[in-house]
Every structure is written in C-alpha cells, then in structure tokens.
Amino acid sequence: MADITIEERKKIKRHDMPNQDQFVRRGNFDEVALGYSEETARQEAERCLQCKDPKCTKGCPVGVLIPQFIKALREGDMISAVHWMKVKNNLPAVCGRVCPQEIQCEGSCILGKKGQPVAIGRLERFVGDYELRHRTCPPVKATETGKRVAVVGSGPAGLTCAVDLGRDGHDVTIFESLHGPGGVLMYGIPEFRLPKGIVQSEISYAVECLGISIRTDHVIGRTFTLDELLAEYDAVFLGTGAGLPSFMKMHGINLNGVMSANEFLTRVNLMKAYRFPEYDTPVKIGKKVAVIGAGNVAMDAVRCCLRLQSLQEQKTGGDAGEVHIVYRRSCDEIPARMEEYHHAVEEGVIFDFLTGPIEIMGNGNGAVHALRCVKMRLGDPDQSGRRQPVAIEDSEFDLEVDTVIMALGTRPNPLVFVDAPGLERTKKGTAVADAATGRTQKPRVWAGGDIVTGAATVISAMGAGKRAAADMNKFLKGEAPW
C-alpha cells in the first residue's frame, strides 16, 4: 500500500481491539484486550497521515516519535519501529496498555477532529510486545563513568530514571521497599489490564542489559536513611510514588469489610490472592460491594471484585454478586481511562452516579451492613471549572452492602522523608522539586513521579524520571553543578 493517497488513508476505519468475551472474562484474571495481529497493526498504521507538525507527539508527555515509529511499522521495518519508540519510551508495552491516550496522543490526532484518531496506543503496545519477544534493540551502556547513583522506588519514575542513567554509563542501584520491583504496575494495576509477566520482562530486559542492581526489601527512611545513601552515592533519585491511602473521615471506617483500594489491590495483584490458597494471602469480599470513587483505581478495584465473585460462584455455586461504583459526580466527570469505564459497564458493574457516601453502617457484630448515601446534583463550577456536587436535602438512603472499598486518592508515603533534613515537602505531603530538572531543595537529591505530583499517570512519572536523569547525568559529568 505504498502509494495510497491521503484521502484513501482517511477512509480506512479505525481497527477495533479484539477483546476477551465480556461474559467469559468476568470469570478470569486473563488480559482483556488481546492485542492487534501484525496484519491489523499494519493496516491501522496505514491510517496515519504523517503530519509535518505532528500534534500527537506534542500531546505525549514524553514526546514519543509517533509518526516515525508508525511509518516504520507500516513499512514492515519492526527494528526501526522499535528503535524510534525507544528513543523516548523505555516501557512501551506498559504504556500502550495503560496510558490515557484519549487525552494525550490520540486526543491530539488530526484524524480525531472529524472521525476516529489513529489507535496509537494499540500500535505502541504492538511494537512494545514485539520487542519483548525479539529483543532487537537492547539498551547499551556507555563507557563507565565510575559514578554511583541510588534510585529509591522502582515504579515507572524510578525505573525510567535508572535505565537512562545506566545508559549514560553510571553505576545504578535501585532500592525498593516491597519484595519485587514495578511499583503500581505490580501492586496496583491488575493482571487483566497489565499482565505481570509483561511488567517483569520489561524490567528485567532493561536491568540486565545495563547491569542495574535492584535491592528489594529496602525501606528508605528505615533500613537506610536518605543521608546514609548520600554518604555512599554521588546522587539520589526519589521515585517513591504516592502510595499512602486516604480514608474518608466518616463513621464506620474500621468495620470489618471496609478497606482501602490499595489494600484490596495489593492483596489481589502483588500477593495474588485471587489464587488463594495456592498463594498464601487471602482476600475477602462479600456478595454486595460498593467501591467509592471513579478513577482508574476504583475501576480496577471494582473489576477485580466482579472477577473474585465469579470465581467464588464457579467454585461454590451460589448466586452471582453485585458490585457498585459510588461516585459523587456524574458520568461526564469520571477521571478513569475511557476504555476501562466501557469495559466495566460491559462486565456488569453498576454505576451509582451523583451519590455521596456519608456513613458506613455496621450490623452490630463489627461488620459492614450498609453504606448510607445522599443524592447529589451538580452545582456551579468552582475555580477549576469543575461543577461541584451539592447534596440534595432529605435524599438519604442506605445501599445494602457487605464490603466497602475506598478509592479516594493517595498521598506520598512519608517514610522516605524520615531523617532527611532539608528535603522540603508541601502541605499535601508531596516533595518540592523543580519541574524541569527534578532537583529538590536538598543537594544531590532529585525527585519525580507521584511523589512530586501526587497520584498522576504512568507516563507523567516516566517523563519526570527522564528529565531528572538528564539533569543528573549533567551533574555527574560536571556540566551542571548543584
């Protein structure tokens, strides 16, 4: 299809993602989106108009060279496609699966103005998966500089920073408090959306090529303090994320059956509780679950609940359960990725919009019996332009549930700030760091990702890791003193 015209390209329809059947997938934790075949990927790539001034690249927080990789892909030159991708993105198989493309690259695609944008995310995933299988473009370590860097936290921010610094020839050690690397990619985002095998191969691929060492079970602030790391290393990057869950200040939060989405997802994903008792960690949810919130975390939690209920049903018979999303605002305001919302609807999640929880009611035996809610309406927009939910008088009602999961946002974990004099924090608990370089107020310490922004996205964390790595490299080479 070498000499096809622009008009012809515009006529090609966006290719659907093949998905696991919506009824079947409720009963397993296998990946929902199955990925493009090579043929579909090439056909989708034909839709790209190769704009001279590509808006998609501008819409990407790390500026992936999108037209370049798509062109190589449609010409069948996978090695170049991988190469173009990896110039800016160290974890394409991950990003292709979890980025909110509709507000980033695809949201900026010219084709989207009149019709459907190029499915950039799906193509990115195709290229990323190809590379994990074929390893055509391994990262290469520059001549060793003899400089030592400690990276704290192994989520997308830390990993990206570590890989870039490894490439630059520095000796990098990652310190991670959990027993395995990956951060939210391992403990938060479920298997059916981001298979853990994919995350692990992305990590081990880069880490092995660059000789990066990962020290798990090291809680910085406890096992070592930041100052102790500074005594041993030339520079330190903090990418410890925003993992501290918030609970609503309401009555009943300590009842049995109430948990944070972080607890629930950590049990299910990191500890593989959906395979209890083969794995030791159990997870317990009831027949009727309410998840409070409507971000990615809430969607992930609610869809895990559905699956756990189905697995239970397959095992013991019994009737199917019921899962609700309880959200104060309306459908138009939900912060989750669109695809996840659609998948959740298909799978049978019940959405209670404009519903504000006010209290968790106990059954008299220390367990949850109901979630007391109030109906809301959208009032006037606040400063940010978002319409504020207002409670409707006398509209209280009880939603009978036995499990309540709170997905209400998270803050940075304060442990890393322990005994770290000079490391400034905002009132919200986020680290103060320069947006362009990632430099904190404390000499030789950089920070990036959720620890600086509060809960955000994988790609923005990667962007921050990349910018910090660039500045750290300059600092380590003596080109940009502190």
């Binding site: 408090s177 959990l178 027993h179 403990y187 798990t216 079970d217 090291h218 809680v219 406890r222 096992t223 070592f224 993992g243 501290l244 869950p245 609970f247 939060i253 300590n254 009842l255 049995n256 059956g257 948990m259 944070s260 972080n262 607890e263 950590t266 049990r267 500890m271 209890f276 008792p277 083969e278 794995y279 030791d280 960690t281 159990p282 317990k284 035996n365 220390g366 367990a367 974990n413 304060p414 442990l415």
Partner: protein
C-alpha cells in the same frame, strides 16, 4: 534471599530463629518489627524483633506456630533461605529514664518484651517484669528476663508453673503496693491480654504502652489494612506504631478486625497440614 543462621525450639510450639540480615541488624532497635515472606507463594507476615546482634549481623525472631505461614517457617532448618526480610519497621520504643517500669509479656509476647526490658534497665529504670502463659510448656526466656529485671513474676493460667494467675493480678498488686510507685507499664501479648492490662492501669492513670499486632500486608504504610482506631482517629500500626498509648485504643474494634480472615487462616492451615502429611507419607514410602 536471607539465610536462617540458627534455629532452636523454645517450647513445643514456640520457635526461635536467627536470620542473617546485617543491614537490618545494624539498624534494629527494641520495639521494631520485620516483614517476612517465606517464598514466592508466601504472605508477608510481621514479626517483632526479639533480639539483634549487629556484630554477627543477625536478627532474632520468635514465633508461635499457629497459622500456615508460621508452621511452614517452623519446618525450615538452619541454612535454609527465606525470600524476603524487610525492616526494621515501625518506631522503636521510646527508651528513657522513667523511674519504675513494669514490663508485661504474655505468651509469645515475652520475646518482644525482652529487648524493651533490657533497654529500659540499661537506661537506669527499675524494671519489674511479669511474664505469663497458658501453661508451663509455653513459657520461655525466664533466665533472660530475670537477667534484665529487678524482679520477675511468673504466672500460668493453669498453675503448672509459677503463680496460678493471669498477668493482670500481680500487676494490680504492684500498682496497689504503697511502697512502690510505678511510673509506666509496657504490655505485649495477645490483644485480649493487652486490653485487660490497660483496663487495669487506667484507674491508676499510669501511662501504658502496648505493641499492636494487627493484620498487615506491606508494613510500610501503603495499604491501611493495619489501621487501629484510637480515641482521636485512625492510625496505621505499621508506620505510626507498633507501640501506642493503650488507654487510647478502641480494643473491641481491634479484636473484631483480628478475626476477619479467621476462616481463610483455618483453611490455609488445614491445607498445609494435609500437604505435610502427603509429603510425609511419600517419604515413608520412598
């Protein structure tokens, strides 16, 4: 991987292990804990640090073989390796010169109370210790406790050793004794015991520190599963504790939360017992 440097049985169901983990041993202090994960399938279990030796680079753990994980750990031998060992976690005990302190250890709680009593003694306190268990076979470390206490009272529920009493009885007598003035109390043991210790000290208004053993997953403040209700709001045991002012703890909610996974724990232990029997039979046949 972390090597088991030493293993010893302290009673039929109580096991001591020293784990090679120099970076943890170097930092460990009385009152802190570690998170242990036996293998790839394992859960993350919190165990209080019973002792540490920064010279040898080892951390001593003492556990009762009650659930699946502790029984599995109990079957491991010197030289075996465990997958994860993270710590030291939580705040150390606030050691200071308080005057006269009472250290109460119940059951396996005798282990974590030992380093606290030792540190308090070294700080110049008069240390009165009470250790108790259901019966004689569950008691251990009598000599060690004696060595770090000015007085040691031992009791068992069934009277098979020491005095037949629950720990709160001698505690109340110490508090009532006009010739003494108790300045502070530490209590570590089963949640019910700690509850009754705080109920005992409350009327005397004596500051009472307890070390809580709620259900934990990460142990780093990430999940909130370990939260406890205090009379001024919820706190996370793993990062805000594990020691708390016992008079502020909502014990009933704590006790009820501890039972949440009881059925699953029973299931896992049963399944483990079954697997062990099958393995045992296979070995006998082979």
């Amino acid at each position: 991987m972390y090597r088991i440097a030493k293993k010893a049985a302290l009673s039929d169901v109580t096991t001591l292990m020293e784990i090679d983990a120099p970076h943890v041993a170097a930092k460990a202090k009385a009152g802190q804990f570690v998170i242990v994960r036996i293998d790839e399938f394992g859960e993350r279990i919190p165990l209080t640090i019973a002792d540490y030796d920064s010279g040898k680079g080892t951390v001593t753990l003492i556990f009762q073989e009650v659930g699946k994980s502790t029984r599995q750990l109990g079957k491991m031998k010197t030289g075996d390796q465990i997958s994860s060992f993270a710590g030291p976690l939580g705040h150390p005990t606030e050691i200071a010169k308080y005057g006269t302190v009472v250290c109460v250890g119940g059951g396996v709680g005798i282990a974590p109370v030992y380093p606290i009593a030792k540190a308090l003694r070294e700080a110049g306190n008069t240390v009165l210790s009470i250790i108790g268990a259901r019966n004689r076979s569950l008691l251990f470390w009598e000599e060690r406790m004696k060595a770090v206490s000015d007085e040691l009272i031992i009791c068992t529920d069934d009277g098979s050793y020491g005095r037949q009493a629950v720990v709160t009885e001698p505690l109340r007598e110490l508090l009532d004794d006009r010739n003494r003035k108790v300045d502070r109390v530490w209590a570590i043991g089963p949640a019910v015991m700690m509850k009754f210790v705080t109920l005992t000290t409350k009327p005397y208004n004596i500051p009472t520190t307890v070390s809580l053993n709620t259900i934990m997953i990460d142990g780093t403040g990430m999940c909130g599963g370990c939260r406890v209700l205090l009379n001024d709001g919820a706190q996370f045991v793993c990062v805000d504790g594990p020691e708390f002012n016992g008079h502020k703890v909502d014990w009933d909610s704590l006790l009820s939360r501890l039972t949440y996974y009881r059925e699953e724990e029973r299931l896992a232990a049963e399944r483990f017992g079954h697997i062990c029997r099958l393995e045992g039979a296979a070995q006998n046949n082979g």
